[in-house]
């Protein structure tokens, strides 16, 4: 019989003396109700646990499992860590950089794990595109601010390791101290405390200046861990914390032993045979770039590092202009460069605008003045069709050249020059007029304004029948 029922019966006995048949029936009914409810609760609990186990497995497959096959990265992470809010993501880009993200979401269970999924997409896509760490964090922060409720956030440790340059750029946003431990004991370790609020609290944060850069040597080790290791408790309620962690680092005989020592210390402290779910620890050992990565990177490196140097010339005589749209072909060429492919729509806008201008005004000699109203637009395109069919002369030439970015070590510069066989125009007068007439709502001329907003520069050359656009990316 349940304790509740026993207490009730005792009270009843005390107050009324004895039970009659009606009382006994009541008691039996109550008893049955309790048993039924208990049974329901058991089933509910069982279903919940089962669902959690499945979700956990799925999340692990999606997130942590794939990421961690990186040379030189040692980690301690429980399969249930994600359900305690700990997320690790790591990837290398074509520039020879390694990006490592350790996140600690507030909350438990599904709530904590769900925030991680959109971050995963942002991280892996942007790292592949060669984006800088501070940009990736900005996007992640924006996303979390949008999707997370106001009381949930994600503390973050972010490492950008550039073994080629021998530098590590680190950002600590709400996490315990990140340590750069020198193999050479004559050089001091670098300790990085939190300098930034966690992700998902304030929108529009900028992280560029919050990254701390330090030089590293081969054999140095960088340690990141989540709050779990700090909060680890023993039987008497004491906390592992900085008092237990610091000595392992300070009293070490060799950097190589720190990782194992920390785990051993933590296990001993907690008195358990397995570490608690959220005691996530990462160790990255700085490698010799030439020996380890150069071979891997050379193939993919050139496209993204901005050192790609090429020039393509596309000549379209009037016959091609009549029947052939060069845009898909140009699109295909750009697709071969991942960095340009990622900026497809901006580049497409620029190319289309330049081509249309060269064709309509240059080769066909049509005047935009007709396009002054919607009826005029229709008329214009009819005239254009007729002119194109009747074309017996003329050509357009594209010169597309790619080179390194003029100011940055990453990224690149795309020069697009379009020359047509037309008469050109007085572009100096046009530019003077445009400068004076900034509020024009004319239906023509917006295209060039659009290019101005996308490209670094646009310049007319020759008699106005040639235009050069410089597009920078990073």
């Amino acid at each position: 019989m349940s304790p509740v029922l026993i207490a009730y019966l005792r009270y009843y006995e005390r107050t009324s003396g004895c039970f009659n048949v009606a009382d006994q029936k009541n008691i039996a009914q109550l008893q049955q109700q309790l048993v039924d409810q208990q049974h329901e609760l058991d089933i509910f609990n069982h279903v919940l646990q089962h669902e959690q186990a499945i979700s956990q497995k799925i999340f692990n497959e999606i997130l942590n499992a794939q990421a961690l096959q990186i040379k030189n990265l040692r980690y301690q992470i429980s399969p249930a860590a994600l359900f305690r809010g700990d997320v690790i993501m790591v990837a290398r880009n074509g520039l020879g950089e390694l990006h490592l993200f350790l996140g600690d979401f507030t909350g438990h269970g599904l709530v904590a794990a769900i925030g991680a999924l959109p971050l995963k997409d942002i991280f892996y896509t942007m790292v592949k595109e060669g984006k800088a760490g501070y940009r990736i964090l900005k996007e992640m922060n924006k996303k979390l601010c949008r999707i997370l409720p106001k009381d949930l956030f994600c503390a973050v440790s972010y490492l950008v390791m550039d073994e080629k340059q021998g530098t590590a750029k680190i950002l600590n946003g709400g996490m315990p101290v990140i340590r750069v431990c020198r193999q050479d004991t004559t050089k001091p370790d670098v300790l990085l405390t939190s300098v930034e609020i966690p992700l998902g609290i304030l929108d529009n944060q900028n992280y560029e200046k919050q990254f701390v850069e330090c030089s590293v040597s081969v054999g140095d080790r960088i340690f990141l861990h989540s709050d779990g290791l700090m909060k680890l408790e023993n039987a008497s309620g004491g906390r592992f914390g900085i008092k237990q962690i610091q000595p392992v680092f300070e009293n070490r005989k060799d950097v190589a032993e720190i990782f194992d020592q920390l785990i051993e210390s933590a296990l001993e402290f907690s008195g358990q045979s397995v570490l608690a779910d959220d005691c996530t620890l990462l160790e990255y050992t700085v490698a010799n770039y030439d020996e380890t990565f150069k071979r891997l990177d050379t193939k993919t490196q050139s496209w993204l590092s901005g050192k790609m140097d090429w020039q393509i010339c596309l000549d379209l005589p009037y016959g091609s202009l009549k029947y052939f749209d060069p845009m898909p072909l140009i699109g295909k060429i750009l697709e071969e460069c991942p960095a340009l492919e990622a900026r497809k729509s901006e580049l497409a806008t620029i190319f289309v605008e330049l081509f249309v201008n060269a064709l309509e005004h240059g080769v066909l000699g049509l005047d935009s003045k007709i396009k002054k109203d919607p009826a005029g637009m229709m008329q214009f395109y009819q005239i254009k069709d007729r002119a194109l069919s009747a074309l017996t002369t003329g050509h357009i030439q594209f010169v597309i050249q790619h080179g390194p970015h003029p100011r940055l070590r990453r990224g690149g510069s795309l020069r697009i020059q379009v020359t047509d066989s037309g008469q050109g125009f007085d572009y100096k007068a046009y530019q003077r007029k445009k400068a004076a007439d900034t509020h024009s709502l004319a239906l023509s001329g917006r295209g060039i304004q659009l290019i101005h907003s996308l490209a670094a520069s646009i310049e007319y050359k020759g008699k106005g029948n040639s235009v050069e656009v410089i597009y920078l990316w990073e």
Binding site: F153, S194, E196, I197
Partner: protein, 101 residues
């Protein structure tokens, strides 16, 4: 864990005291302390003098209070945090979000 509130004489400032552990168990009581109060105080003060420890759930609750205050153009300050609690507020750089006294 218990929550106590004090309203200033002119109703412009509300002080919320958290005694004991400031963790998830405080969620309901903490929110009730301020959410329906009218007129909305111009200043909210969270007094942590009697608070032994805070966790990330508590930080979240403070963010909710801040959100409530911001939508009514009121301010929030946090005061009297002990060393342990101050350290936790420090790591999350909460001094950028709250006035900490």
């Amino acid at each position: 864990m218990s929550i106590q509130t004090h309203l200033s004489a002119d109703s412009s400032a509300l002080t919320i005291e958290i005694l004991g552990r400031f963790d998830f168990s405080a969620h309901h009581d903490f929110r009730s302390a301020y959410i329906d109060r009218l007129p909305v105080p111009q200043r909210f003060c969270v007094d942590l003098a009697g608070t032994v420890v805070v966790d990330s759930a508590a930080l979240g609750m403070l963010l909710l209070l801040r959100d409530h205050a911001n939508s009514h153009k009121s301010t929030v300050c946090i005061m009297n945090a002990n060393e342990t609690v101050s350290e936790i507020l420090d790591v999350s750089c909460f001094d950028r979000l709250f006035e900490i006294l």
